[in-house]
């Protein structure tokens, strides 16, 4: 009975129903769009940051991160590597050997960071090949060749096919020295990396440091950052006490902190949005109760139980909230997909900064279904929570006072 009455009551004051439904409709659209842009931007930012150099996860010999020397490296273990790569969320596993050396050309000498990489696997994670500005990336024929970062090459005045001399301390104190042909030059947006990185194939670096089969880290690529926590847990379980498994949040704590702060600011903006929605919905509910106060009193007088009346008002609110939410979701889904396919392009200096770091200057939207579900549920919950106002009013109403004009 109350279903029919509730439905008819929706059309009693079409403008009021339209205002409430519109408030919910726009609330859903705005909150979904804001959240999907926020998540999309952060996902993209994280993807850019981790694919720049660190990867989503790194695995080291226990203690390496705090004391980064070759002697804290680990011997490659193919069975361990295959167990890692068999994990669902893992897309690539790139072994690295990283240490320092003195690079020299003519009368110039400079410290640099030597990174021995597996060319194919490394490329899957950091897309290093795309950063090559001259020369070429490593291939299977690459022997005693290196790729220099642009800043380092400029410092020495080196070009492709020149030779650079390296000297360092190898594994267990051995002397490391060699001369290497420059295969290519890469450019990094970060001056810190651009001025000191020198890449060589993994086996060449192991030979240079007299550390056959030694690696200092496994850098992992992931399908989705969403499952970062669970993936790290599984890897820790597989790795036991021998290795340390670190997520990008531990590797790049500043970035994690920055994202948390930005998300906090966004939560405040969303909070204000929800508050505005609350006022919009509550205003119409307040008007509705004032208009229908007499009628509620009359219905209680003639024998309608307050519980039924409360159910009637609740049903009316549910109808309004559901219509507004469904309409809002129906419109926000294509909008968000459109923003994903045609992301907002950043202009000006910010775009230049992005491009310098080889990042695409865009604000993409995330189409993660959880955004639609979460935002839809939040708005529905707000609507239902505010529906408690007419319900409480009904339970408090005194028919005699309500029917006094």
């Amino acid at each position: 009975m109350w279903l029919k009455l509730a439905w008819k009551n929706l059309w009693r004051n079409k403008h009021r129903t339209a205002i409430t439904t519109a408030a919910i409709f726009f609330a859903v659209i705005l909150s979904v769009a804001a959240s999907s842009l926020q998540d999309g931007v952060f996902d993209n930012f994280i993807k850019n940051m981790v694919s720049y150099y660190t990867g989503y996860i790194q695995i080291h010999q226990k203690g390496y991160w705090n004391h980064q020397v070759l002697d804290n490296g680990m011997i490659r273990d193919s069975s361990y590597e295959s167990r890692i790569s068999n994990q669902k969320n893992i897309t690539a596993i790139a072994p690295r050997i990283e240490s320092y050396a003195l690079a020299s050309f003519k009368d110039l000498t400079k410290g640099c960071m030597v990174v021995g990489i597996h060319p194919e696997e490394e490329n899957k994670i950091t897309a290093l090949q795309n950063k090559v500005t001259s020369g070429k990336y490593f291939d299977h024929k690459s022997g005693n060749t290196v790729i220099l970062s642009e800043g380092l090459a400029e410092r020495f005045g080196l070009q492709v096919n020149d030779t650079v001399y390296l000297i360092s301390q190898g594994y267990h104190g051995a002397l490391a020295a060699g001369k290497y042909l420059i295969n290519g030059i890469v450019s990094f947006g970060s001056p810190e990396l651009n001025d000191q990185l020198l890449f060589m194939p993994l086996h060449t670096a192991q030979e240079f440091y007299s550390a056959p089969d030694l690696v200092t880290s496994y850098v992992l690529g992931l399908k989705s950052d969403k499952y970062l926590g669970s993936t790290v847990s599984k890897l820790r379980h597989i790795s036991g006490e021998t290795y340390e498994v670190m997520s990008w949040k531990e590797l790049l704590p500043d970035v994690d902190q920055h994202i948390k702060m930005d998300k906090g600011s966004m939560s405040i903006i969303l909070g204000i949005l929800y508050l505005l929605i609350c006022f919009g919905i509550f205003g119409t509910m307040l008007m509705m109760m004032v208009e229908r106060r007499y009628e509620v009193g009359m219905l209680v007088a003639i024998g309608m139980k307050k519980g039924i009346l409360a159910m009637l008002f609740l049903t009316e609110s549910i109808f309004t909230v559901i219509i507004g939410s469904v309409a809002g979701l129906s419109c926000s889904i294509p909008l968000v997909y459109y923003l994903k396919e045609h992301p907002i392009r950043i202009g000006g200096e910010m775009a230049e900064t992005y491009e310098r770091f080889n990042f695409e200057p865009i604000f993409p939207a995330s189409t993660d279904p959880s955004i639609f579900i979460t935002q839809g549920l939040i708005v529905v919950s707000i609507g239902l929570l505010l529906s408690m106002y007419p319900v409480i009013t009904v339970f408090k109403i005194d028919p005699v006072k309500a029917m006094k004009k």
């Binding site: 009455l5 008819k8 209680v300």
Partner: protein, 238 residues
Amino acid sequence: MKTVIDAHNIKKVYNPETIPVVAVNNVHLHLERGEFTALVGPSGSGKTTLLNLIGGLDKPDTGSVIINNVDITKLTPNKLIDFRLHNIGFVFQAFNLIPVLSARENVELIMQLQHVKKHEIKARVTNLFQQIGLEDKMDNRPAQLSGGQQQRVAVARALASRPQFILADEPTANLDTKSADNLLDIMAKLNKEENMTFIFSTHDQRVIERARRVITLVDGQIHADSSPVSVNVDSTIT
């Protein structure tokens, strides 16, 4: 004759802690089945308060209101609502039909609240609309009916629950002469043919003239009662 309402020594004071207003003062009222009673008096004499008290819409500060052997002043709010649904019919001055429901649905609502079976509802609604002479307007919304027609539907709604009596607060106040006469005819007919008890507060001389008992209230007390049994035994009339 069956007693329908037996009110003893009822008193109602508004704002007892600030500026007390005695709305009803030590009223005794005894109504029997089939009465057609008018409650009259000047504005502020306590007519509506008395109707509210005997209709279970308000609780007296002292005294008891016994309807159908139940002291309604002792009922819990929920039980009181249920009691009103099954025992008391209300007709209001402003008709108070639900605007989104048709005339038929307004009348059906009461019986649906009483969980009456569908086929019984249908039969009774048809019968009620025949009695009020609005068979052809059953599917009209209140806004599509005249004031008089709306009040007739309100009477049908009050009758739908098969109450012990019907309380009508100024039922003709918003009606023109013809509509008021028509309504009174219907109420008188129901009173005569179905022995339905009517108690109405009114200022309308035509209503007063058609009542078989007239109770006059002044300052919350019964000043005069045209019935053979005087119920206002304690009141002091000034």
